[in-house]
């Protein structure tokens, strides 16, 4: 189920503006990788290129290759819709569909695409996905209530369940806890630990403790100044990044001397 990602010489643009430059990174299957770095360094922008969400923004485009188990996402003829159904994404703010019930939110990826699914298969998928997102016990009695009625942390886990239900190979998370309280954050972090048994997880976070707690490997992004492109500075085992970084900039950042 889980696949690896290899990025080769990727440049990311907004129209003519080069936002991220020359990224090379290899992300192993069934692992958690954290992207850290100061605000505006391009870590979220780079994350969005991994499932072609970047090009949804007008003017957004890339140069270079992103390989999913050897298949290039950006090869001409590849349908971005196809890419996104294999590489799911969880966003900064929980965004369940307000017009749908909890159950329909989980089934959104299936139903919105107009696929037929039997009642029993749907029930199994809803339960499996919600269990996978550690939400089943909290919502099993109110599956037909609107998803927007849940608390922020529950909504975010609902969004994760919705992503799992599509059965992706990779799950991208863009600061998934930045809008949540500490207890909800803890629940999500526990969940990420479980998710890596089945999926490749890539998470952007501005919280270094979080990166240290959840990730196997960490990538540090930095920017030389406003208007300059962001770059991948250092990528290594999380323990190494936090205890013994090779680069001065990384050390300054993780020790809190700037950023």
């Amino acid at each position: 189920m889980s696949k690896r990602i290899d990025v080769k010489d990727l440049n990311v643009y907004y129209s003519k503006f080069l936002a991220v430059e020359g990224v090379n990174i290899n992300i192993a299957a069934k692992s958690v990788t954290a992207f850290i770095g100061p605000s505006g360094c391009g870590k979220s922008t780079f994350l969005r290129t991994l499932n072609r969400m970047h090009e949804v923004i007008p003017g957004g485009r890339v140069e270079g290759e992103v390989l999913l188990d050897g298949d290039n996402l950006y090869e001409p003829g590849v349908d971005p819709v196809n890419v996104r159904s294999q590489i799911g994404m969880v966003f900064q703010r929980p965004n369940p569909f307000p017009t749908m019930s909890i159950r329909d939110n989980v089934l959104a990826g299936v139903k919105l695409n107009g696929k037929k699914i039997s009642r029993s298969d749907a029930d199994a998928l809803v339960e499996g996905s919600l269990r996978g997102a550690n939400l089943w016990n909290e919502v099993k009695d109110r599956l037909d209530k609107p998803g927007s009625g849940l608390s922020g942390g529950q909504q975010q886990r609902l969004c994760i369940a919705r992503t799992i239900a599509v059965k992706p190979d990779v799950i991208l998370m863009d600061e998934p806890c930045s809008a949540l309280d500490p207890i909800s954050t803890l629940a999500i972090e526990d969940l990420i630990n479980e998710l890596k048994n089945d999926y490749t997880v890539v998470i952007v976070t501005h919280n270094m403790q979080q990166a240290a707690r959840v990730s196997d490997k960490t990538a540090f992004f930095n920017i030389a100044g406003t208007g300059k492109p962001g770059k991948l500075i250092e990528y290594n085992e999380t323990a190494t990044i936090f205890s013994n970084p090779a680069e001065k900039a990384t050390e300054d950042y993780v020790s809190g001397r700037f950023g």
Binding site: N72, G77, V78, V81, N82, S85
Partner: protein
């Protein structure tokens, strides 16, 4: 790498749906443009005989220009009467709702004024014809007796009340909600800080309004009045039913005068041939006039948009 697994598998069939749907959306937008273009061309073609015909054959017997000029003037007079009445009252009503009325009833009161806008124009016309016009007859007689030396109140006053002034008053009632609702929106956007600063300096409520609210809202008020003018110029029913039409005369309290919209409505059903072309040409003139007025209003709104952010 020989085959890319991402290329083939998956719901690629849906791709056609994307093309069809975006094509339909684009098509609808283009359809609007094409229709407007075709309509403009067709209108012009149908109006063309008016400009090529022998001037003696045009209504009035002196060519299109001398036919259209009096009714253009009549249109403008009716609209100006409406604005002269509706502007001060409309602004005052907007101020009442935004700054004077108790907050709890301000919303329902605003809705009440919006109701004025919801009433169909033909009902205003019927009301003007059957209720307002007879009620105004004594007032017109008084005006003719006491202010008859002013040309616009020249006697003898109409015995039916079906005059330009009545039509103007009905139009005023119809444009009032436009002016009120737009001005009210602008008044509510006045920065609270400016208002509180004025009050803190010991200003009375009226001084606060005249120093903080009105200057801030001036462009908004002007464009509201311009939009009201556009509506008054093009309004048909109030004039067609209320005004007893005739040639151009200065007195507003006698029967007489005519507007473009009413001229078309009253004569179109029986018109054919050259008369039809005349009326369509008159419609084009009305369109151009309202277009210019609306453009000016929108230009004012657009120019001041960046200042209305109230921050």
């Amino acid at each position: 790498m020989t085959t890319n697994a991402l290329k083939s598998s998956g719901p690629s069939a849906g791709r056609a749906g994307d093309k069809i749907f975006s094509g339909a959306a684009l098509g609808a937008g283009v359809l609007i443009l094409l229709t407007l273009f075709a309509v403009a061309v067709f209108l012009f073609i149908q109006a063309l005989p008016t400009f090529t015909a022998d001037p003696a054959e045009i209504s009035g017997g002196a060519g299109f220009f001398s036919y259209i000029l009096p009714i253009v003037i009549g249109t403008v007079i009716a609209a100006l009467i409406a604005l002269a009445i509706a502007t001060p009252i409309g602004i005052a009503v907007a101020l009442f709702i935004s700054h004077y009325a108790p907050r709890r009833i301000a919303g329902p009161l605003g809705y009440l004024i919006d109701l004025l806008a919801a009433i169909p124009s033909v009902i205003y016309g019927a009301w003007g014809y059957l209720v307002l016009a007879p009620a105004l007859v004594p007032g017109y007689q008084w005006l003719a007796e006491n202010l008859g030396f002013i040309p616009i109140f020249g006697g003898p006053a109409s015995q039916t009340g079906k005059t330009m002034l009545t039509a103007g008053i009905v139009l005023a009632v119809m444009v009032l909600p436009i002016i009120t609702s737009l001005s009210r929106e602008i008044f509510l956007q006045t920065p609270k800080l400016h208002e509180e600063a004025a009050l803190a300096l010991g200003a009375t409520r009226w001084e606060m309004i005249s120093t903080a609210v009105l200057p801030f809202a001036r462009p908004g008020i002007i464009s509201a009045v311009m939009l009201g003018l556009g509506r008054a110029l093009g309004e048909t029913m109030a004039v067609a039913l209320v005004l007893s039409t005739g040639g151009l005369i200065p007195s507003l309290i006698q029967s007489g005068n005519q507007t473009i919209a009413a001229e078309i409505a009253l004569n179109f059903p029986e018109a054919f041939g050259l008369r039809l072309a005349e009326l369509i040409a008159a419609g084009l003139v009305l369109f151009v006039i309202t277009l210019i007025v609306n453009m000016i209003a929108r230009a004012i709104i657009a120019r001041h948009k960046e200042f209305s952010g109230a921050n």
